[in-house]
């Protein structure tokens, strides 16, 4: 089944919140998930990232987005950044969230065995590259994201149904 990018981003964001990640990192994870799936990424990397809210690329990679922008400002359009082990699968997707056009994103290894992300960048000229109209996603991934997202929903009560929404009850006017 395919989805709109916004559906995927919103669902992944809620899933990250449901998994226990802070809201800002969850929001960025939502956007990165779209980039990741649009470039053909495997669902397992997303599920792995969601598994531990205390030690996850979801916590670390938002800072990478800032690091890329700063590195380009300092060193020019071709940069290499060292990653923490475990972050390499999602790092290129996060890199695409910068206000730069990523013309090349390759993963490698440093001499001491740490993963590295090599990027060629260019300023965005005119309209930003658009995402495909549909994002394909594994049903198992959608199920897991939906299950986690549901952890952010509050069960309904009669009180919340009436007072919580504050709706009037004169619908046949």
């Amino acid at each position: 089944m395919s989805y709109s990018a916004n559906e995927i981003a919103t669902l992944a964001q809620k899933a990250a919140r449901g998994a226990g990640f802070p809201p800002h990192q969850a929001q960025i994870f939502g956007a990165a998930t779209v980039q990741f799936l649009a470039s053909g990424g495997e669902a397992q990397a997303l599920l792995d990232a969601l598994s531990d809210p205390d030690d996850s690329p979801i916590l670390r990679l938002p800072l990478l987005v800032e690091d890329i922008q700063r590195a380009v400002d300092l060193a020019g359009p071709e940069i290499t950044l060292t990653l923490q082990p475990g972050d390499e699968a999602l790092a290129p997707a996060y890199a695409r969230l910068t206000a730069l056009h990523i013309t090349r994103a390759e993963l490698g290894q440093s001499e001491d065995g740490l993963p590295r992300l090599c990027l060629d960048t260019a300023p965005v000229q005119g309209a930003a590259p658009t995402l495909p109209p549909r994002i394909a996603a594994d049903p198992a991934l959608i199920d897991r994201l939906s299950t986690l997202a549901a952890l952010t929903y509050v069960p309904a009560t009669d009180s919340s149904r009436s007072a919580g929404a504050g709706a009037g009850d004169i619908d046949n006017d």
């Binding site: 802070p22 206000a99 309904a156």
Partner: protein, 567 residues
């Protein structure tokens, strides 16, 4: 000022030759400060302006000479079936597929939790063939329960105003026109209860169409949908009534909308967009306040508009006593405003009007802001182009903890004065109900679910960040160790670059009135006749007085601000 020296000395000459570059203050000069504009009680007094999205749309439709066609009308004698409307805009065709079905009265509710509606709609990208029409006719009545494609741009539904819908048909069948008083009292034949865009339920992402001329503005596709739905409601009663509505009554029949809390979080989750909307309006106000003088035509126009406002205020009646009292106060104050407008000083007349309005209620002040913009499209309309948010999220620009802390003290100074130890300051919590994912507001101390709170507690988070930064020397290490503060850091960075990005009130305080957020956003849509049903739910009217399709080639296309029955 050099600009003033360059102005023609003759006022009539000034009017005819007014140029943007002569009257624009520098971008920030003279703008009302965020500390004034971004308070909830003032946002909750917003009125539509000529920069409101529906108004921008009708201006665009008129500029293009757009014509609404109705290639399909497959509606039966009982009013059920489907119709297709098509309009060309910016080089693209857009079609509204409208589906009308029978709905028992007991199933009619404006709530998100409804499962059936009188009518359902899809704004389609292009002209649908019979297969696509059949697909939409099967899916649209199911609304959120169905799936849609990237050709579907907007999804909506609307319920009848039972008493007015029936009354209009009965009158038309009897060879008479509907009662003017009832038309004014209700203001619409149907009201939408949701207008979904941007990828919901599989419809097209906004990113796919945001570069298209004519619908590149915020909510432009949604406003186009609403305007086309209005035409369908007109056509439907004329079909059932067997004769035409009087055009003046028809223009006064807008499209209603019933809106709850779901609209409020948008203003918090889209801070740059909120900034751009507010900044466009405030820049427009600064531009007109900078006008050194006005010609006779502009003065007459302002006076005429004051009379239109007075008529609008008479027409605007609501059941809620507290809101009616606010309207009554504007009515009481308006003659003084009109008197002042009649005798505007020669120098900086619009600025004088805004200063004079400060002696009156906030509602009257904000009405004067909208009034002040209305005659001056030639110097403010270009600002509509800046009301989108095309940029990627801004990068946190803080080099160290002290600069971040200083930024909080500079831009979020008001949050540091709040005492979150007080129960009243944290009484509310925003959440999403599992029931059709309806956003709701709870009492933190009485209702379950606070552990699943939505992050609208920006003030509390920023204050907590400020405290947590005390003694921090390595900001990078702090951020890695305390990831829970990243949202607050992002908000501080955003506000430092976008001064109107934050509502400057505590949104979890007992005193917070979400209705103020709804009204602000709806005013930017172009809504009028705000009719609150509680502090978190309102009905409104969109496109009341707006041009009918046949009016797009007339002056009406861009002259319908607060237009009443007599306008």
């Amino acid at each position: 000022m050099q600009a003033r020296q360059a102005l023609p000395s003759s006022r009539s000459s000034w009017h005819s030759h007014r140029m943007k570059d002569l009257v624009c203050p520098s971008p920030r000069t003279g703008l009302r400060p965020p500390s004034q504009v971004m308070r909830l009680h003032r946002m909750g007094a917003s009125f539509p302006t000529r920069l409101s999205f529906l108004r921008v749309l009708t201006r665009r439709l008129a500029a293009e000479g757009a014509r609404l066609r109705r290639p399909v009308w497959n509606i039966g004698a009982e009013g059920f079936g489907h119709a297709v409307y098509t309009i060309a805009l910016g080089g693209h065709d857009y079609s509204l597929v409208a589906v009308s079905t029978h709905l028992p009265d007991e199933m009619r509710t404006d709530r998100v939790i409804a499962t059936a509606w009188d009518t359902a709609y899809v704004l389609y990208d292009g002209v649908p063939d019979s297969d696509e029409i059949a697909r939409i006719c099967a899916a649209a009545p199911q609304q959120e329960a169905a799936r849609y494609t990237e050709r579907d741009l907007v999804l909506s539904r609307a319920n009848k105003s039972v008493r007015l819908f029936s009354h209009v048909i009965e009158r038309l069948r009897a060879g008479r026109q509907p009662d003017e008083a009832l038309v004014n009292e209700v203001g619409y034949l149907m009201r939408t209860t949701a207008v979904y865009g941007n990828g919901k339920f599989g419809i097209a992402d906004r990113g796919l169409i945001e570069g298209r001329p004519g619908i590149e503005g915020p909510f432009a596709a949604e406003m186009l949908t609403v305007w086309m739905i209005r035409s369908f409601t007109h056509d439907l009663v004329e079909h059932l009534g067997g004769t035409a509505l009087d055009p003046a009554l028809k223009r006064h029949l807008g499209i209603g909308n019933s809106t709850g809390l779901g609209m409020a979080p948008f203003l918090v989750s889209h801070p740059v967009l909120l900034n751009n909307w507010m900044q466009a309006r405030e820049t427009a106000l600064a531009r007109v306040r900078a006008l050194p003088t006005l010609g006779r035509e502009d003065r007459t126009r302002l006076t005429t508009l004051c009379d239109r406002v007075a008529a609008h205020l008479v027409e605007w009646q609501v059941p809620a006593p507290d809101h009616q009292a606010r309207i009554d106060l504007i009515r009481a104050e308006w003659p003084a405003i009109r008197g002042f407008v009649e005798e505007l000083p020669q120098d900086s007349p619009v600025d004088a009007l805004i200063r004079r309005s400060e002696a009156f209620s906030v509602d009257t002040q904000e009405l004067c802001v909208a009034l002040a913009l209305e005659p001056f499209g030639d110097i403010v309309d270009d600002l509509a182009a800046g009301m989108t948010d095309p940029l990627a999220p801004s990068v946190n620009g803080f080099d160290d903890a002290q600069s971040l802390r200083t930024a909080i003290e500079t831009h979020f100074d008001w949050v540091l004065r709040l005492d979150f130890e007080e129960t009243a300051q944290q009484r509310r919590f925003w959440y999403v109900s599992e029931e059709k994912l309806e956003p709701r507001l709870g009492d933190r101390f009485d209702d379950p679910g606070a552990d699943r709170e939505s992050p609208l507690d920006i003030a509390r988070r920023v204050q907590a960040l400020w405290h947590a930064l005390d003694g921090v020397t390595d900001l990078r290490a702090f951020r890695a160790a305390r990831p829970e503060h990243e949202l607050a850091i992002a908000r501080v960075a955003c506000l430092a670059a976008h001064p109107y990005a934050e509502i400057r009130d505590n949104l979890i305080a007992e005193s917070c009135l979400p209705i103020d957020m709804l009204r602000c956003k709806l005013a930017f849509f172009g809504a009028t006749k705000f009719d609150p049903k509680s502090d978190r739910w309102t009905r409104i009217t969109l496109a009341q007085g707006a041009p009918l399709p046949e009016d797009l080639a007339t002056a009406r296309a861009d002259d319908w601000w607060l237009a009443g029955l007599g306008a």
